[in-house]
Amino acid sequence: MAEPKVKYDRQLRIWGEQGQAALEKSSICLLNCGPTGSETLKNLVLGGIGSITVVDGSKVEVGDLGNNFLVDESSVGQSKAKCVSSFLQELNDSVKAKFVEEYPEALIETNPSFFSQFTLVIATQLVESSMIKLDRICREANVILIFARSYGLTGFVRISLKEHTVIESKPEHFLDDLRLNNPWLELKSFADSIDLTVQDPVAHKHIPYVVILVKMADEWAKSHGGKLPSTREQKKEFKDLLKARMVSQDEDNYKEAIEASFKVFAPRGISLDLQRILNDSSSEVDSNSSDFWVLVAALKEFIANEGGGEAPLEGSIPDMTSSTEQYINLQNIYLAKAEADFLVMEQLVRSILKKIGRDSNSIPKATIRSFCKNARKLRVCRYRSIEDEFNSPNLPELQKYLTDEDSSGGATFVGRGAMAPPKPLNFHIAVGIYILLRAVDRFAANYNSFPGQFDSATDEDIPRLKSAAISLLSDLGCNGTALAEDLINEMCRFGAAELHAVAALVGGIASQEVIKLITRQFVPMSGTYIFNGIDHKSQLLSL
């Protein structure tokens, strides 16, 4: 057997040992193992998920051989769940694979407690009514739920849980935490100890830009009543002052300083996003609060007191032109301040834990440390229940999508970089798909089959689907809005087909969201992702 660490090397570089451990500890339940569910689970099994249980009551048919890689000739007539789970077992023998030959609808009706044993449930190809029931069950049991569906060239993915908090959100582009606009004592002293007017040209061009900017900002503030450059003219003047200090054209450190001067002009303190989290009612903690909110409560206190309006220092600095010695010294100053902030936070956390009646050591040091490093990047994701969304979707948003008034995205690039004005119809198809995917379920409830499911009925089904869609729109409060006729026809044409390529795509997206949810790293998607395989203008709808 391959050494587990090496096999997972390429993914460990993304989510690290802790993320991998979280995956290996979790147990997943899959409902329905057609291609959509099978492909979702395949990706997770390859990644080393702890255990899987495949639930499906159907038998393998000849038609399944044409769209599902996880069943083969020899399994025709056998339980599909059994077949898929044994292929998955073969794919990764460190995963524990089980199957249950039952229709998910039956389990949902008669055995809801079945779901409480799992970390997460992946529910594929369920209709509206089952989605609502399962959602209630999982919310009760605190089990993460994710829906995925493929329908012809369309599909959707929707996460459902009350709240998901992320400390390690790992955003791609996030401003470093240099505090050039608000240096603390040790940083200021270090800057003071360095002479910008040093004669030696090599030394002159190896002073790190952080030092240059801290000194220049201080000089400016002294002659401007303690304030930093704020108007356009002032910012230009500041940059000119920097330029004037260059003694030759090849001084990269000064060029970096000029480029980074916007960090001096940036407002002090914390972002609006973080402020919103601090103001959330969950930050008033009690014994039921999660560790995340206890940490947020401590953060709130820190910012109001020792932090002086700032979050704990992140502690790392980007590479910059500098002598090795000055760079290392600078690095150590940032690390020391981050450590000091961490120690204060640690005390705050412990005292809050005591106050709410919990063991003051119940949140590990490592967690507090990680929280401090990531304090500016915290994310809180909340998801409406399926029932709420289905019965009362966000009407203004729905109408915006239906009329396509706010057409952002889908611009045309002409040549290199120039853009033509945005094209309309970017949300129109996606929201049409959203409505129609619910309308086909209503249709099925009435006629016991999906529109176009059988060749003979396709023509009659078109007007029936259309009226199901119209009545749904009316129920939701959107009378009179029309859906594209072409789209209605296409949905009938699809006849509830589960195409492999669409299933693989939708399954790929669902599996990726599962990874983010379980590792608690990176940010899961919000809202409902509507896959539009017709022209690939897929959209996220926030209803």
Binding site: G410, F413, D455, R493, H500, A501
Partner: protein, 450 residues
């Protein structure tokens, strides 16, 4: 549409709904029928370039989307680190050629599919090999490889006298790429949509550290590693090339980097990080590869059948912060050296092949050296192998006009070396040669002088 006979359930039960039924949002020449499905199955040939993370997914997706005649080409062997996403391979397969194992596994599971594996480099195939395929699907991990295939596919493209691409010479490509949670999928129809070269500016240049930083003022772990890898190795092993796949070489670099880091007080040098920097390891997971390959497969199906509207023409995907997908419509560079009608070169009928080759070197847009030239499949001059070089050497002193059959103008293809980002790279270029003073009629009487 007649109902399928109950006694013979269709394997392509789901695909049939897409290919046998008429639709509204479809391509202009969509002809729904069992014939269409059967044609795709029996006659459409698709080449999958690469049998790695994307390639494995592509083979599965294409086979389950009605394509039963596939070829796959990959020069690599299976490694343990592939196993977290290249699902056609097992531990026992480590060391075997990817293309062969991938083909075998898919054929085992999906009956009726025929996949021909090619365990070799893409450059080892004749250009004509690529012309046998209806569509080429790319699952590559390098800019150079993409460029090569793009050059080849675009070399088939011909234009009419109004500079419109001739449809039957368009070789469609579907190209996918991934990195961690990000990826892209694009459709390339040479002459119609931008080719890889038209949008080469999309790819940012690779990060290189300044030499003085590595040598004098290292600050980060990466600096220490690259110093050991790029500078110290040659000093200590002058003559032996560094082999990133040799664990002893890698360990040597790691030890040297660690020593240097300790000397300068720099944290962060680990063996894993050293590997990452030296090999330029790109983190990779199954899900992103699955998404991108599936998108590519859908487009391949649409190109082959027109069963739906196509993506126009570049999809980007990012799943690290929420979920972002976007389709951008890029436009062609009309003057593209690869997919354009070809650089126009006007010469006298007296110009010899040798003189012509000198002109190519001096031409500001081309700067082509070591040229090998073909005209309508005929070798005019070949730099290699020695046998061919000897055979075609005598052509060098002959007038190009005669070698090209005394046509007043025609397209030739030139393989050679050119400069890109201060590096010499190989390239294939299409040239339109017109001869001064010759009218459109190829007349024996107007033969050029010596």
């Amino acid at each position: 549409m007649a109902e399928t006979a109950a006694t013979q359930p269709s394997r392509s039960r789901d695909l049939d709904k897409l290919l046998l039924r008429p639709g509204n949002l479809v391509g202009p020449r969509f002809e729904p029928s069992a014939q269409l499905r059967d044609d795709v199955q029996n006659h459409a040939r698709v080449l999958v370039v690469g049998a790695g993370g994307l390639g494995c997914e592509l083979l599965k997706d294409l086979a389950l989307s009605g394509f039963h005649n596939l070829d796959v080409i990959d020069m690599d062997r299976i490694e343990v680190t592939n196993l977290n996403r290249q699902f056609l391979f097992r531990v026992e397969d480590v060391g075997k050629p990817k293309a062969e194992v991938a083909a075998k596994r898919v054929m085992e599971r999906i009956s009726g599919v025929n996949i021909v594996p090619h365990f070799c480099r893409i450059e080892d195939k004749d250009i004509d090999f690529y012309n046998d395929f209806m569509i080429i699907a790319l699952g590559l991990d390098s800019v150079e490889a993409r460029s090569y295939i793009n050059n080849v596919a675009c070399s088939f493209l011909e234009y009419d006298s109004d500079d419109n691409p001739l449809e039957e010479t368009i070789k469609p490509m579907v190209d996918g790429g991934t990195e961690g949670f990000k990826g892209h999928a694009r459709v390339i129809l040479p002459g119609v949509t931008p080719c890889f070269e038209c949008t080469i500016w999309l790819f940012p240049p690779q990060v290189k550290f300044p030499l003085c930083t590595l040598a004098e003022t290292p600050r980060t772990a990466a600096h220490c590693i690259e110093y050991a890898h790029l500078i110290k190795w040659n000093e200590a092993h002058g003559g032996t090339a560094f082999d990133p796949d040799n664990p002893q070489h890698m360990k040597w670099v790691y030890d040297e980097a660690a020593k240097r880091a300790e000397l300068f007080g720099i944290p962060g040098v680990t063996y894993s990080f050293t590997q990452g920097v030296v090999k330029n390891i790109i983190p990779a997971i199954a899900s992103t590869n699955a998404i991108i390959s599936a998108a590519c497969t859908l487009e391949t199906l649409k190109i082959a059948t027109e069963c739906s509207k196509t993506m126009s023409n570049y999809l980007t995907y990012n799943g690290s912060e929420g979920l972002h997908t976007k389709v951008a419509e890029f436009e062609r560079d009309k003057d593209c050296l690869v997919c354009g009608p070809g650089v126009l070169i006007e010469v006298d009928t007296s110009v010899t092949l040798q003189k012509f080759m000198n002109l190519l070197e001096e031409h500001p847009k081309l700067q082509l050296t070591k040229a090998s030239i073909t005209h309508r499949g005929k070798n005019l001059y070949m730099q290699a192998p020695p046998v061919l070089e000897e055979m075609t050497r005598s052509n060098l002193s002959l007038p190009l006009f005669e070698l090209m059959g005394k046509l007043s103008k025609d397209v030739i293809h030139v393989n050679g070396m050119t400069n890109k980002n201060n590096q010499k790279v190989s390239c294939l270029r299409k040239l339109r040669v017109t001869f001064k003073g010759v009218d459109g009629v190829t007349d024996m009487d107007t033969a050029g002088g010596a």
